[in-house]
Symmetry: C2
Subunit: 184 residues, 2 copies
């Protein structure tokens, strides 16, 4: 039953968005009564926070191809597939919009980001430092910048511009980002 409710939340989020989503709509989509939902979660906020936390824990394995550029290339392939999924491309901007005015949602997304995307990106940087491809002892600010350089451009393309990826895009992105990281 819980799995049916979780699936219904994702479908409902993608269809109508967080602000318009209701416990009634989720229950109807899951084929259960409203009380079955309220028995587990106090509100739609708590339901969605619970889902986001569960996703973050799953995480992604850190790529380990033997080079920084290869690791970035693999990261971008996995991430671009995930971002192309219609549920992701509708649900992520929606939860972010909610986070801009809801501190609990903002904290849950920060945590998911730290444990998910940023965990993998940090792992890739650590491997590159161990291989001697990046210099040791990036300043603290530079470490954060490194994560932004690794995550920002593909996110901008997939979620903000919402455009198709031109041919050869992911390879060129990995090359350019490698050069950016080496300049830190």
């Amino acid at each position: 039953m819980t799995e049916a409710i979780r699936a219904a939340v994702f479908e409902e989020l993608a269809a109508v968005g967080y602000a318009r989503m209701s416990i009634e709509g989720i229950a109807r989509r899951a084929g259960v009564g409203k009380t079955a939902v309220y028995r587990r979660w106090r509100s739609k906020l708590h339901l969605v926070l619970d889902l986001v936390s569960a996703l973050a824990v799953q995480g992604l394995p850190t790529p380990d191809t033997g080079s920084l550029e290869g690791d970035l290339r693999l990261l971008y392939e996995v991430t671009s597939r995930a971002l192309r999924h219609p549920v992701a491309s509708q649900v992520i901007p929606d939860l972010q919009a909610e986070a801009a005015r809801n501190p609990e949602m903002a904290a849950a997304l920060q945590k998911a980001l730290r444990e998910g995307q940023h965990g993998v990106a940090s792992g890739i940087v650590a491997q590159a430092v161990a291989r001697g491809e990046l210099r040791q002892g990036l300043a603290e600010g530079d470490e954060e910048l490194a994560l932004d350089l690794m995550s920002g451009p593909l996110y901008w393309r997939a979620v903000v511009v919402r455009g198709e990826l031109p041919k050869g895009y992911l390879g060129a992105l990995a090359t350019a980002t490698t050069a950016a990281l080496k300049a830190l």
Copy 2:
């Protein structure tokens, strides 16, 4: 009167978000009757589309400091100030969330992006090519990638991570992005 309504739309968007915003709420905040709003705009969608188009036309002047790194640095200072404004940081994710399920909103945002941010970024690239800092004749896909490299990381930091900018961040970002663009 129209200016009062425009200001009220921004305030209402920031306060409750697009999905929960109503013409009633806007009229109340602007201190006018509902009919005054409906006389000009058919719906809240049309009102917001009109505002987004007006913003895009304002545009930004292209920085021209004499070097690619200097131009990027200036672009980032202007952009980071704009993104830190509470209205921008709440309204942008909100309109994007709506764009994910509303093709008219998506088209208006695309157009605003092309005429605003991407216009400036393209101007910076063209100047760098003219100066000989970037090679002439980037492949078509590379031109799009260049815009993503220039816009993505700061957006990721300001709107997704929603973190403070560490000390020295914008200068280091300009240096790293210059290296990324030269690798194209």
